[in-house]
Symmetry: C2
Subunit: 221 residues, 2 copies
């Protein structure tokens, strides 16, 4: 489902240029659950942004579901992302003036679902992350871990075939983190593909495979 | 150094009122290192915001260094906070248009230190969290864990007698998290008082005492 070859990604120019990914290669088969580990600042979120079509690479190839992802318009990227990918961002990226429920419904409404169906599915997903009683709160009225769970619910609500999760349990206590991992395991069992960044060894154990990002390369851990 | 009695803190009104802290009591002696645990949404960050004078309580008493903290002006709170408290926020709260270095210098400049001394201390603190080579980056040019480390450096740079840290290692890999805990242990050894919220059992082990926030109360763990 993911076929990345020889990817180069840099930031900055000239003297201050940083090469984050240095001819990196990364392949994921449909239905896999891959954990991505690596030191702080090594390029994990950068990799996820490329996979999720949030950012573009300088050179190399990225095939998503067999289709080449380079040289498309922003509009095409957004459409593919919305159909195929559920993304949990490291910094949650919730919409501040929307409630938790509105945030979670949004991907479904963007896909053209009816308000009634979107609302029902969003409420169910909020229930699954233990936030039914916070549905009408805005992000500023939620704890750090509650915001993280809303971001998780939003990423999972449209049952996308590829789920990208960037540190989804960093702000959660043991029990809540366990519930989230259980939800991801259920989705994996149902056939979804999951790529998950984590610094937590317990979380990494849920994966079917572990890779490490370091010095610009992606290698088996 | 901290003497909190019978603290009540609520959000919202009427039907949607949430009582986060329900006649909570919390005492910290000078030089202690206290870890605060508890479920997501239980009130840990709310407690820290009250301790750090970022927010006000509805009723009860809070004595910081023997001085009552209720009914002061915002200006007084800011002055006390700047002199006495170093705060690592759960969401980092860095200033987006400042570089890492400028963010870390800021508490010293606010205290009236000369630019030259502030710069030197800020550079040293950035070095201690492993970010000397990122000093001129802005937050948007830093990884999640790097932003977290800048927030830590900023909280520690003025060697405040009370350090409040809200989940300081949530986005850090094992090694970097270990380095941060070592830095906090050094400060504790030098006589600083530390109150630290964490979901990480390994981090909690560094504390001299552990408390738990649950159902609006604070109890020994
Ligand atoms: N816009 C940018 N300009 C310059 N450098 C950047 C920019 N964005 C990220 N970087 C640098 O790229 C490197 C990789 O960042 P990335 O966010 O991918 O790391 P990460 O592995 O996710 O780290 P963490 O575990 O701390 O979240 C970091 O060293 C960071 O400083
Ligand atoms: N402005 C607000 N209005 C209404 N409710 C709020 C507001 N801010 C926080 N809350 C609620 O108060 C409760 C406590 O929040 P707090 O941020 O202190 O939790 P926490 O223990 O830090 O959680 P976490 O471990 O997830 O960071 C949460 O249930 C949250 O929904
Ligand atoms: Mg990251
Ligand atoms: Mg919190």
């Amino acid at each position: 489902i993911i076929d990345m070859k020889d990817i180069v990604k840099t930031y900055g120019k000239g003297e201050s240029m940083i090469q984050v990914l240095d001819h990196a290669t990364f392949t994921v088969q449909p239905g896999e659950f891959v954990a991505v580990l690596g030191p702080s600042g090594s390029g994990k979120s950068t990799l996820m942004n490329l996979l999720g079509l949030i950012d573009t690479y300088d050179s190399g190839e990225y095939f998503l579901d067999g289709v080449e992802m380079n040289q498309r318009t922003d509009k095409e990227y957004a459409a593919i992302r919305n159909r195929k990918i559920g993304f949990v961002f490291q910094k949650f990226n919730l919409i501040a003036k929307y409630t938790a429920l509105q945030n979670v419904e949004l991907p479904l409404l963007l896909k053209g679902e009816r308000q009634r169906d979107a609302r029902r599915k969003a409420l169910e997903m909020l229930g699954r992350v233990g936030l039914s009683d916070r549905a009408t709160h805005r992000p500023s009225q939620l704890s750090g871990g509650q915001q993280q769970r809303v971001a998780i619910a939003r990423a999972l609500v449209n049952d996308a075939s590829l789920i990208l999760a960037d540190e989804p349990t960093g702000n959660l206590d043991q029990k809540t983190g366990h519930d989230v991992m259980q939800t991801l395991a259920d989705l994996h069992g149902a056939g979804n593909t999951i790529v998950l960044i984590t610094h937590d060894q317990y979380v990494a154990k849920h994966a079917s495979r572990i890779v490490r990002v370091e010095d610009g390369k992606i290698t088996p851990a």
